[in-house]
Symmetry: C2
Subunit: 308 residues, 2 copies
Amino acid sequence: MAQVYERVALIGLGLIASSIFWASKRRDLAGEIVGYARSAETRETAREIGLCDVVYDDINEAVRDADLVILCVPVGVMGQVMEQIAGSLKQGATVTDVGSVKRDVIDNVTPHLPKGVEFIAGHPLAGTEHSGPRSGFAELFDNRWCLLVPIEGSDPDAIARLRGFWEGLGSNVEEMDADHHDLVLAVTSHAPHLIAYTMVGVADDLRRVTDGEVIKYSAGGFRDFTRIAASDPTMWRDVFLSNKDATLEILGRFTEELFALQRAIRQGDGDHLFDYFTRTREVRRSIIEAGQDTDEPDFGRGSGGTKS
Amino acid sequence: MAQVYERVALIGLGLIASSIFWASKRRDLAGEIVGYARSAETRETAREIGLCDVVYDDINEAVRDADLVILCVPVGVMGQVMEQIAGSLKQGATVTDVGSVKRDVIDNVTPHLPKGVEFIAGHPLAGTEHSGPRSGFAELFDNRWCLLVPIEGSDPDAIARLRGFWEGLGSNVEEMDADHHDLVLAVTSHAPHLIAYTMVGVADDLRRVTDGEVIKYSAGGFRDFTRIAASDPTMWRDVFLSNKDATLEILGRFTEELFALQRAIRQGDGDHLFDYFTRTREVRRSIIEAGQDTDEPDFGRGSGGTKS
């Protein structure tokens, strides 16, 4: 594969940035990939494990001469970071991001965008529950979607080039409108995360009552919630605050449905429950048909319970 | 391993019963394992795949002479099935079950219990999202917990023998009180399942708005919910109806917490969110330390997105 950019700068060196680095190197997508992280400890770790060709202590040094700058920081600070680097960006450069919310990021980033620099928002739908510079790996984006959200007047050539880069990283790329993105993600990711966080918090409160048994016997569904609820707290705080409207809208619908099911339980309305659960089973079938998961039975990973 | 029972009868031939059969055969835990299912189609499938040494068309024939009878039917019909078989049970036999709720099952089964027959309730904490006679496999119980809930006056020898049988199937066995069992399971399994069902139903409603994109981009958390929400509708209807009080109690707490988090989002209270998410991360750590899951990153199974 031909190199897509001469010089790429990664701002923020967590799970996504480190995976971009390893995936780029795997296919030689860029001449040089440099990086910057706010925390000295993260920069130190990055140097130690060979993450980035050069790690800079100064964010403006890092972006200077870069053809592509990828903002891999929590969505709550995207605007601030853009303001900070604006003066050092090269003419003709493209800036993109990897945040889970798009309207808010675009609104905060574009006011600081210098003339002659493109901003094309992006969101790779990939991740694990781990975070930090050591958590990345080259295969993270393979066969995962990456959604690009061009802003009005984005240069088609710049979009095509960024698309080629993400395809080189392994992704399937689609373009989408910012508001639509935020609604779809509220359903598929943001609301489920908040719900998982909530349930895990409830269980934590009950630990005293149940004397650790909630942990011991977690295999029946709850364990999957704890995995979802183990994701990076800063990232998720920012996601909820910056996709407030769509998240609250979906949570409102969720609460309505939950109340209806609670009432059915209280009233012993088995038909309502059965019909509902039959319908949700169909959704699972669609997801398997869409290739988003396998039909392989999941009965927990690892060795399971400890010997008593 | 020495055979634990001469003759075992499986009533209901779904995921759990078929896994018990294959796991017993693996270690030769019983002289003969016979079975019965209400549906002729299930009995036909069982005969076709060699599930059970004999499959009976008559439930009373199936339990006659059995030393252990395992009720593997939905919790809503346990009492009915017990009533049906009561007259055919052998003196000295043990009856057990595999239902996810224990108080209700004990209350419904014990009135029909003949003199000279033991009932020891049980619940293997194991399963997948699949159901039916073809879904079982010998390893399902390996290193999983099996909770036994003896009733007042249960014979210690009968309990010890049943424990030996479940250990032979691969489980780690613990004894527990019925009400405590139902509370712990409401937290670790019943409430999470209802929540997952609810979220998947909401997403299904939104499919028209989002034109199938909810399915296409399901990898970000929602996919795990659909797996949980694909479990057997009859089984889960019965679980919620028969563990009504504990489930509603936990859902009440859940709703309270969810409202507090929604308010934090609406008010932009990032500290509240951050603290909450940091605390839930700790719960995940406890589960990994308890050996109930591995720390291996999960980024979706299978091939992921289809090529566009």
